[in-house]
């Protein structure tokens, strides 16, 4: 059976690519510290020696739209093109093409349906920055096959937080039951507190630093019960109107398992939103 070589959760800041590649006067003052944290984070994946990446993200109305909106969708295709015109325009993100792992996608679809998740699927999915940003930060050579899994954190009605946790637990079980000896890293990105298009956007820090500190503690310690006791669809409006992306962190806590302490925890206070990085090694820290 396949091995879960690493479980990785992080924010996906679309400005990282531009900040980290900028030079001279264009390079922001926080770029070097940001790059150092990302390179340490990247090493946690490299050390796990993955063969395949299962990547959880959230489409930002790029390919998925309100005329036919899935709640959870698995990409099953031989290749995935990445990034859209408006991400190139706004964030300077590069276009890329990633290979797909269709057999694992089919396994997750068949068995995910049987486990009670009505997963949508796509045979031609263009992925956006929620999945390409962790490629840029964690695997810039973009050489591993992926299975993208999209969640709806954007278009109400949304699944509730507990559903994200349950899907995370199921994804972990499904990967571990995949016949073969592949080493699979499960990577998911979300948000801490975040405001988009509202009065609290683009501040000196994230809109709710208190929530961010609590959230980092919940994730780092695997405190699922504590987190679910406070986080609801309604409560997530309070730290900022786009904070429902935090539910992708909840999904990854489900993958890591209740009570699982992260082996790597780091964060960076930036303008607009706080960055946070977590890695778990379910089978022990690699040598």
């Amino acid at each position: 059976m396949a091995t879960v070589a690493a479980v990785i959760a992080s924010t996906h800041h679309p400005f990282y690519y531009r900040a980290s590649t900028a030079t001279g006067d264009d390079r922001p003052p926080f770029a070097d510290a940001w790059v150092a944290k990302i390179e340490a984070f990247r090493e946690t994946l490299t050390k796990a020696r993955p063969d395949v990446l299962v990547m959880v993200g959230s489409d930002h109305f790029h390919q998925l739209w309100l005329d036919n909106m899935p709640q959870f969708l698995v990409g099953k295709a031989p290749f995935f093109d990445g990034n859209f015109y408006n991400e190139e325009r706004e964030f300077g993100l590069p276009r890329m093409t990633l290979p797909g792992e269709e057999q694992l996608a089919a396994h997750i679809l068949r068995n995910g349906l049987d486990a009670g998740f009505d997963l949508a699927f796509s045979n031609e999915l263009r992925i956006d920055h929620s999945i390409t940003c962790p490629i840029i930060t964690l695997r810039p050579q973009a050489d591993l096959p992926i299975v993208p899994i999209y969640t709806n954190i954007f278009a109400p009605p949304l699944p509730r937080p507990r559903r994200f946790v349950e899907l995370g637990r199921t994804i972990r079980r499904l990967v571990e039951s995949w016949p073969g000896d592949q080493r699979v890293a499960i990577i998911g990105t979300g948000h801490l507190s975040l405001e988009l298009g509202g009065p609290r956007q683009f501040g000196e820090h994230g809109p709710d630093p208190v929530f961010d500190r609590k959230a980092i503690d919940w994730i780092a310690s695997g405190d699922l019960d504590g987190c679910l006791a406070e986080v609801t669809l309604d409560s997530l409006h309070l730290p900022g109107n786009a904070t429902h992306g935090f539910m992708d962190f909840l999904l990854m806590m489900g993958v890591a398992g209740a009570g699982a302490k992260a082996d790597h925890v780091d964060s960076l206070d930036l303008f607009h939103t706080r960055e946070a990085y977590f890695t778990w090694y379910p089978n022990g820290v690699p040598a």
């Binding site: 954007f154 298009g197 409006h237 786009a242």
Partner: protein, 119 residues
């Protein structure tokens, strides 16, 4: 109210570089053209198959024609769509983050709970 149609306008314009420039250059003309020609277009279908019933309210039409992002927010348009399109149109006229911060300041009188964005 037709929040879905507001979002459909913002979505279809934001993803098309030609439409972004057209809306920036001529808001009223673009909104009129879009409502006549595009509003009932099924996005995942041939052009022969169309919806028959989608139209803006007067207030929605006005807000789009006047780039009134505060009114769009209050009407329940998806704030990500409004923000990303308006950044595409107007950030170029300002210094770094200047437009985004002014956009937020114009909404300083708004407090949670914000309008429902469900369509």
């Amino acid at each position: 109210m037709s929040k879905y149609l507001l979002d459909k306008f913002l979505f279809t314009v934001d993803r098309d570089p030609e439409l972004v420039e057209r809306y920036r250059a001529d808001a009223a003309g673009t909104v009129t053209w879009w409502e006549q020609e595009y509003a009932n277009k099924l996005l995942n279908c041939t052009s022969d198959e169309r919806s028959t019933w989608l139209a803006f309210t007067d207030e929605e039409r006005r807000a789009l024609r006047e780039y009134d992002h505060v009114a769009l927010f209050e009407l329940g348009a998806h704030p990500f769509l409004t923000l990303t399109l308006f950044i595409a149109m107007f950030e170029r006229d300002h210094g770094p983050l200047e437009y985004q911060k002014a956009y937020g300041r114009a909404m300083a009188h708004l407090h949670p709970p914000y309008p429902d964005i469900a369509t």
